[in-house]
Amino acid sequence: MASIAQAIRLALHVGESELGVTDIFGEDVGAPLGGVFTCTQGLEKTWNSPLDERGIIGTAMGLGLAGCRAVAEIQFCDYIFNTIDLLKLAGNSCWSSVGQFNMPIVVMTPVGSGIHGSIYHSHSFEAMMSHIPGWKIVLPSTPIDAYGLLLSAIEDPNPVMFLYPKALIRLPGEERIPGEPAEAKELSRMIDAPLGELRSKWKPSWPALPHYRIPIGKAKTIKAGRDLTVLTYGRLAPVSKTAAEALEAEGISAEVIDLRSLHPFDEEAILESVKRTRRCLIVNEDTEVTNYGEHLLRVVNTACFYHLEAPPVLLAGMNTPGIGLAWGLEEVQVPQRQSVASAMRELAQVHA
């Protein structure tokens, strides 16, 4: 099955061939590399930008103002922090011009830990990003969600931040993208660029892709459960699911919801679940002070306070200035399967 990298490529192909995407650009996004994670290989509208994130975001905004459809990449979200003022501007153009100028751009950037990325290839970005009004934000954890959400992002007339979990980029999905060939090998033969000299003459052959979208703002329950609700996304969505599955053996039944969209998020689905299970654990890997999960926690706590049997819990990254390279450091600094399982177990056992 397609990986997230391949799913992004497929969506961008639909974007440029059917949805009017005019520019797919960023550092090393064009040929020959097609992105440091290969997400932009074989596409028509890609080009290599100067090594200048402010120029990347600014130029995308200019393209958007001129009615083009740009998808801009920041190579790692770790390098987006010099553009926050521009992201804020992109988020206020429509509001400040009372609707005259919308900003139909997509910015994509890989996030999170899990690749021994040390201080500057392990950052999360959803806390800061969700504090910037005027943007929609998605963070899929599976290839099919990445595919469907990226297409929705491209079609959206507003700026959309498409975050994707770098640790999962190369894993094959479990669900087939509509139109995807049955064999993973076949897909690879069609759309993965060859290595070495062959690459310069290579052209991809794209599968026919029927219409498919995932709407922004809808969560996905990836495991049903009774005793507590886990709200998560990105790298920690599959981790939470696996942990929850293992806990069934201990008689703990956790429901795991993959948010997929962070702004707007699926308040309805979340509140329904929490009111039912009466316990809520929020899991992400961003640092824990002024963390987006605290926003979820407030919403849940406010709406479900009298249903809750225990205070909602946030399990997040340590509030340290970076993630250490040594595995022993990363392991304790961001949630892993063990710590997620422990948090679930603990929460399930709290009795008022």
Binding site: P32, P50, R54, G58, G62, C94, S97, G196
Partner: protein, 362 residues
Amino acid sequence: MSNRGPSTPSSIKGRLRALEGGRRENETPDLRGVPSTYRGLAEPAMDKRLVHRMMAKSRVLEERLVQMTRSGDGYFWIGGPGEEAFNVCLGLLVKKGQGPEFDYLHLHYRSSAILVAMGMDVADALRQMASKATDPFSGGRNFVNHYAIKEWNVVPGASTIETQYAIAPGTALAQLRHGGDGITIVNGGDAGAAEGDFSTCLNWVSRPGRELPVLILVMNNDWGISTAGHETHGEQPIARRAEPYGIRWDTVDGNDPVASWKKLIEVLAYIRKERKPFCLEVAVSRLHGHSSSSGGARVTDETDCMVEFEARLAQEGVLSAAESKKIREGYAKALAETLLKIREEPDPDPSMVHDHTFQEEG
């Protein structure tokens, strides 16, 4: 995997040759100024009376806006008295319209005269100053002189100094691809050129073989709020920073509308035709201090382009001092009446404050 692609880099020797200052072929070694083909162009001819009228209208507008902070009609003023001579010429020469066929304008907060010359209803500037719901640019949300006019490609003006320079390459890229002779125009102050976004602009409009049609303006009034230019800038002049990028550049006396008109004719023709960037630094005055935060009082030690131009027009027999005065008084009177009406217009409805946070899908 090797990262080497079709674009093999020059050998170390070739690279050194480039380092030694060698240029790519087909490139004129003289970078400064417009090339000779475009020099001495005078069409469209300057209508001095029109330029004067637009300058007068702009000046009167700005003086009224300043006044409105004192009469309690507005909270904060910032604007462009002292930049009218150049800005009116520019406004008259803009290719006005919507979409990539036409010019895009990325303007800072001293650009009122550009818009007046383009035909803006000055009442709208008063509406923005008074934070009225009828302010068509921002619906009472933004400061005065922060324009946004979709039909004229005037993109939303923001208070953040210099960010417009990072955004301008985007509209220009759309124009380059679209074809035609529409260009992107971006302006900002001298102090602001210290922000990295100015060099971002220089870089992104001059990628070899991918040059973009942008008029990069530096409106040099030698001040950044209270800080004199020489305290913070070693550039001689600022526009010369374009040269290493292979971008042509020049300077002009923005207090002289005749010189400004002539220079703009040449420069705009070059950009429209060659689809290449040009950086023009314009010496201008700041006649009411930085903004109402510093009082907004009229300063007396800077050249006033209105005074100079009116003296010149009188001397040339184009317009007498009395005629000039009458023109200004006419605009002032009309504006005073307009303000009376605008005072009655509605304030923004607080219940609509979330509107336009997002554009509805459509």
